[in-house]
Point group: C2
Amino acid sequence: MAARPAKKSIRNEIAILREHLAQHELRVTSQREIILETFLKMEHVTAEQIYHELTKRTPHIGLATIYRTLNLLCECGLAQQRHFGTQTHFDNVSHKGHHDHMICTQCGTIIEFENCDIEKLQEEVARRHKFHITTHKLELYGQCSTCHGKA
Amino acid sequence: MAARPAKKSIRNEIAILREHLAQHELRVTSQREIILETFLKMEHVTAEQIYHELTKRTPHIGLATIYRTLNLLCECGLAQQRHFGTQTHFDNVSHKGHHDHMICTQCGTIIEFENCDIEKLQEEVARRHKFHITTHKLELYGQCSTCHGKA
DNA sequence: TCTGATATTGATAATGAATCTCTTTATTAT
DNA sequence: ATAATAAAGAGATTCATTATCAATATCAGA
Ligand SMILES: [Mn+2]
Ligand SMILES: [Mn+2]
Ligand SMILES: [Zn+2]
Ligand SMILES: [Zn+2]
C-alpha cells in the first residue's frame, strides 16, 4: 500500500520522519505515517492509547508496530519518552522546545512549563560536582487549580 | 524465630519500624529486621539486589517478602522509591532529608544534592499556574567527573 | 513496469518486574 | 501453653514491553 499524502499541517513532521528513514535505509510505510499522524493529534500519549485509537481503522495495525514506531519517533527527535505513572507516555516535542511538567495526582492533568532560571541553577549545581549534564527530568506532583480544595 | 537484637548503629531505624508496626497491628519478624538492616547498608538499592544479598543467608527469604517489606519501609518514611532506570530503586532517607540526584549514564554513579534555590523557583512556577506541589522529582543525567572525557 | 533482495508487519510467544494466592509457619495477646 | 491471625514462602499471575518468525510490502535496479 502506498503512503497517502500528508495533511498540510503535519508536512514538516512527515518530512523529518522520511529524512530519518532515508538516512538509515529504513522504508516509508503507511503504518509509520498513520501512527505519526495520530501521535501528533494527541498529548502525552501511551502506546495503548494510540493502539485503541487505531483499532477503528482498516487495515488493522498491530500493537508491536505502535511500539516500534514510537521508538522510531524518539530516535528522530519528534517524540520523547516520559514516565509519569506506570505506563510510558510519549511527548510531542517537534515544535515545542524542551519543557518540564506538573502532574495533577487527582485528575491527571499535565501542565507544561519551562524555566530558564531553574536550568541555570541545575548547571551551577552540576559544575560544583564536576558533572556534565546531557538531559534532565523535572516533575512537580500535586493538585491543579480545579482539584485543589476539593475532597 | 525471635527477632535478634539490633546493632547499635541502626537502633533508631529499628525503633521507627517497630513503632510503625505497633501502630498498625503488624508483627515484628526477623525477616523485616534483616531486610531493614541490609537496606541500610546499601545505597539506592533494588529489590533484586537485596534479594541477591540475602540468598547467602539462612533461612532463605523470598522475593515477595523483600518487596512487601520495602513497601513497608516506604510507608514508615525510612525509604523512598525512585525510578532511575528500568527498575525501582529504594533510597534510604532516614537520616538524610529530601534530596535530588545526578546519575552518570556511563558508570551508574549517583550523586545526591539539594538546592533550596531550585525548590523556591519550583514553588514560584507552581504559584503562577495555581498548582499546589506535594512532591517533586529532579534528576540530572550525564557524565560524572571520572567518566567525562573517557571514550 | 517487473523483479528480487530485504525491511516491515502482525500474531503470538516471551520476558521481566512486581503483585497476588494460598498453604504453612510464626507471632502475640490472653 | 493456646488460640487467633498476621506473615512468610513458593509459585502462579499480571501487565507493559520486546522478541520471534512467517507472510507481506517497499524500492532500487533491470
Ligand atoms: Mn510535554
Ligand atoms: Mn538518594
Ligand atoms: Zn487536577
Ligand atoms: Zn560515571
